[in-house]
């Protein structure tokens, strides 16, 4: 999965606004615990992905997110001793010891899993919708080397994937017994180092690492920049407000408490609306 420019308001927005938008959604996922509110955050992220023309990317990220969510839920149910409602008694298990699975631990695990889903989907949205070259420009005045390293890591991924395919094909062409995994790993590692050296040489001859701070580049804010920046602020304010004023309550231990009040529903609806409103204006999205 990598960035590719598409005709969508999110792609048309400046990387700073796109970054802020994705960070705000991630913060919402971390700040909110109510199942209704967290569900709204996931819906907002997936909705934003679809509205940005990234439905395929969202679908590709979903299996990983859901698998991780299930693993988190299972692990939490097995290792957490809290909760009053025992649903399964597993007795003495190796490593884990005496294990009772409680309803509260299971539900809390599911909430943690839902949060992981939100964060992974948000990461997928960021990767596919925010231009990494723009991000490099954004952060390089603060920490050029770190920003470039991160951007290059993204750039190297497809190159290394192609290398891995080539290596696999070459080994399929070998007659007789295939080489050991250790030999293959060694060859793959050497290949990666060679690639990294090539890229490092290319960076040197393009002037990377030259002393002096790069100049700042100013650009006027477009309607999409403003819309996504405003959306990011709104999502963040709503999440903080819900947390501070306890509008999206949830507690798992010792017993479940997740009241669905009018305030919770209002916060959930407002989150989805604030996140998706910037997509309503599609003027000037095609470069």
């Amino acid at each position: 999965m990598s960035y590719r420019r598409r005709p969508s308001p999110l792609h048309a927005a400046w990387a700073a606004a796109g970054c802020a938008y994705c960070v705000a959604l991630a913060c919402a996922a971390l700040l909110l615990s109510s199942p209704v509110a967290l569900g709204a955050v996931v819906a907002a992220i997936v909705g934003a992905g679809v509205a940005a023309g990234l439905g395929r990317e969202m679908r590709r990220a979903a299996p990983l997110a859901v698998t991780l969510a299930i693993v988190i839920a299972l692990v939490n149910a097995l290792v957490t001793r809290d909760g009053l409602t025992v649903v399964v008694r597993l007795g003495d298990l190796p490593v884990l010891g005496h294990t009772d699975v409680t309803l509260e631990a299971t539900v809390y695990g599911l909430i943690l899993g839902l949060r992981a889903v939100a964060l992974i989907m948000c990461g997928a949205l960021y990767t596919a919708a925010v231009d990494p070259d723009e991000v490099l420009k954004l952060f390089r005045r603060v920490s050029f080397r770190s920003a470039l390293t991160a951007t290059l890591a993204t750039r190297m991924v497809p190159v290394l994937v192609r290398d891995a395919h080539r290596l696999t094909d070459a080994q399929r062409c070998r007659p007789g017994r295939p080489p050991s995994r250790v030999a293959l790993m060694r060859a793959a590692t050497s290949g990666v180092l060679d690639r990294a050296l090539d890229v490092a040489a290319a960076l040197e001859v393009r002037g990377y690492g030259r002393p002096g701070r790069p100049p700042s580049i100013r650009r006027p804010w477009s309607r999409h920049d403003l819309a996504f920046a405003a959306s990011a602020v709104a999502v963040l304010v709503l999440s903080v407000a819900a947390r501070v004023f306890d509008l999206a309550q949830f507690s798992a231990y010792p017993s479940l408490r997740a009241p669905v009040s009018a305030g919770t529903i209002a916060i959930a609806l407002a989150l989805v609306a604030c996140a998706l409103l910037p997509f309503a204006d599609r003027r000037g999205v095609q470069r």
């Binding site: 062409c173 060859a187 050497s190 040197e204």
Partner: protein, 534 residues
């Protein structure tokens, strides 16, 4: 700076832990606006010399440097490659690893921003570099979606964006098809003429670039062995280093004439000496052209080693790579598969070897199909050459004495031969067909000749995808020309390679395809039979 853009004074250089110097007492000076071609066999020191000019030697590679290197009057010891980047634009062989950003626009802006240019200056520099290289329509494309030729143009534009006074290019056309390669060379000449930038280019296919060069520097074992204008260089090469002589030069030399650089000059030299090239072409060529090699579907043979029957390869939600290809290859036939990048050559080889399954059509094989893919290093996974293949297989490719060496320490040509030994190495199940994908990339003429000899000795059908018509002329009985996933010509090498411009040998182009002569020896024979010089 007194008009010299690059000056080397008694420069010797040793890579870390290397006992022998890669450059050995090199002194030269290259002036502003010169277009210089670096010639030499693999390992002669060409790439090291270019890396010395860009400052990568010694700052990036380490090692020991003796002597002085000055770029635009600046000592490279005291300037890093990043600082020199404002004066030297560098282009390497592999376009994939020298493009570092995600969009073409960002790639072109990157060197300018590193230099500290203001926003408007960066924007203007990007536009100008894009226009100069004819890639304006690519500016907003992601670099991951570009073809090899497009990537190489983008990398060249990035190297030129800062208007460097010196441009160094290390075999920039080795991964490009003949059309794109020739376009790139022509582009370099235009840039050299328009901006008076000094260009130093290292290239194995000298016939491609000698006609545009002002000067040729030949290297051997890290030393400069010839530094002369193209014509004098060719005369020297014919006498002292035949592997560096172009086919055209060998043709003229064989006829007792002075070598000339380029097709136009060679034809003029022939005419001036009484060989009427036009007449020879008309007389011997017209007959051939009346029966063009247009058999887009070869007749199936009962004794075929490989039979490809109406094979399609269609990518889901993507392009069609092969469009109903039919091909039949006899048991000891040697076939070259040619065509532009993206024509479907590699895909067809993968289908032949069973690495891919056709979406329609079928493939019949008389036995095992051995496939050597483009990068021989991908096959090398063990610690010694002896572990990679049996001693018999190593002996068959001339590597019997290399058993104790590490495979990655071998030269490019040796790696290619080792990989060939690996895919052939199955005594119980010898291959019925041997397929090779672009085996001559970055190979000098000596190694190509060795490989062609090896392919002629293999007791199996041979199918080679290549861009190199000179190599094809050495080994192939038959040539299949692919375009847009379908064969557009299929016939004897003499027919297919003598009729065109891009997919033709230099001899064929000089003789206008007369008599189907592809190699200098064939050309000499034809001309000596046809004409008596005045």
């Amino acid at each position: 700076m007194n008009g010299e853009v690059l000056e080397l004074d008694r420069v010797s250089y040793w890579y870390p832990d290397a006992p022998q110097p890669a450059l050995d007492g090199v002194s030269l000076s290259i002036g502003a606006g010169e277009l210089v071609v670096l010639a030499g066999l693999s390992g002669s020191g060409k790439s090291t010399l270019l890396r010395t000019a860009s400052g990568l030697v010694p700052h990036f590679h380490g090692g020991k440097l003796a002597g002085t290197v000055a770029v635009a009057g600046m000592d490279t010891r005291t300037r890093t490659p990043a600082q020199l980047a404002a004066y030297v634009g560098t282009l390497f062989q592999d376009p994939e690893t020298q493009v570092v950003m995600n969009s073409v626009r960002a790639e072109l802006a990157f060197p300018l921003e590193n230099r500290g240019d203001s926003g408007p200056a960066v924007a203007r520099g990007v536009e100008e570099a894009a226009l100069a290289l004819g890639i304006g329509d690519l500016l907003d494309r992601p670099t991951s979606e570009l073809s090899g030729g497009e990537l190489q143009r983008v990398a060249l534009a990035a190297a030129l964006a800062g208007r460097p006074s010196l441009i160094v290019l290390d075999e920039p056309t080795s991964q490009l098809d003949p059309v794109v390669g020739d376009e790139l060379i022509a582009l370099l000449r235009r840039i050299n003429e328009d901006s008076e930038a000094t260009v130093v280019i290292s290239e194995h296919r000298l016939e491609r670039c000698l006609s545009i060069a002002d000067r040729v520097i030949a290297m051997d074992e890290g030393r400069i062995v010839c530094d002369a204008p193209p014509r004098e260089f060719l005369a020297w090469a014919c006498a002292a280093s035949p592997a560096l002589a172009t086919p055209g030069a060998r043709l003229l030399q064989g006829l007792g004439l002075s070598p000339a650089a380029g097709v136009k000059a060679a034809r003029a030299a022939l005419r001036a000496n009484g060989y009427d090239v036009g007449d020879a072409a008309d007389r011997d060529g017209r007959a051939d052209r009346r029966r063009p090699a247009a058999a887009s579907r070869s007749k199936p043979s009962r004794d075929a080693a490989l039979r490809v029957d109406r094979v399609w390869h269609e990518i889901s939600r993507g392009p069609t790579i092969l469009r109903g290809v039919s091909l039949s290859i006899g048991r000891s036939e040697r076939v070259a598969l040619m065509g532009r990048n993206g024509a479907g050559k590699s895909t067809l080889l993968r289908h032949a070897a069973g690495l891919m399954q056709p979406t329609r059509g079928r493939i019949q094989r008389a036995g095992r199909v051995a496939l050597l893919l483009q990068n021989p290093t991908d096959y090398l996974v063990h610690e010694t050459v002896a572990e990679e293949a049996s001693s018999a297989a190593l002996a068959s490719v001339g590597l019997a004495a290399f058993g104790d060496r590490h495979p990655r320490d071998l030269s490019g040509g040796e790696k290619q031969r080792l990989a060939l030994a690996i895919v052939l190495d199955d005594e119980a199940n010898p291959p019925a067909v041997v397929c090779l994908d672009e085996p001559t990339r970055g190979m000098d003429r000596t190694h190509k000749h060795e490989l062609a000899r090896l392919l002629c000795e293999i007791d199996a059908a041979v199918l080679v995808a290549t861009h190199d018509p000179e190599f094809v002329a050495e080994f192939a009985d038959r040539v299949v020309l692919l375009a847009d996933g379908a064969p557009i010509a299929d016939g004897p090498a003499a027919e297919v390679l003598s009729g065109g411009t891009y997919f033709a040998t230099e001899t064929a182009r000089i003789l206008g395809g007369a008599g189907g002569a592809l190699t200098p020896d064939q050309g000499i024979g034809l001309l000596q039979r046809a004409e008596v010089p005045a």
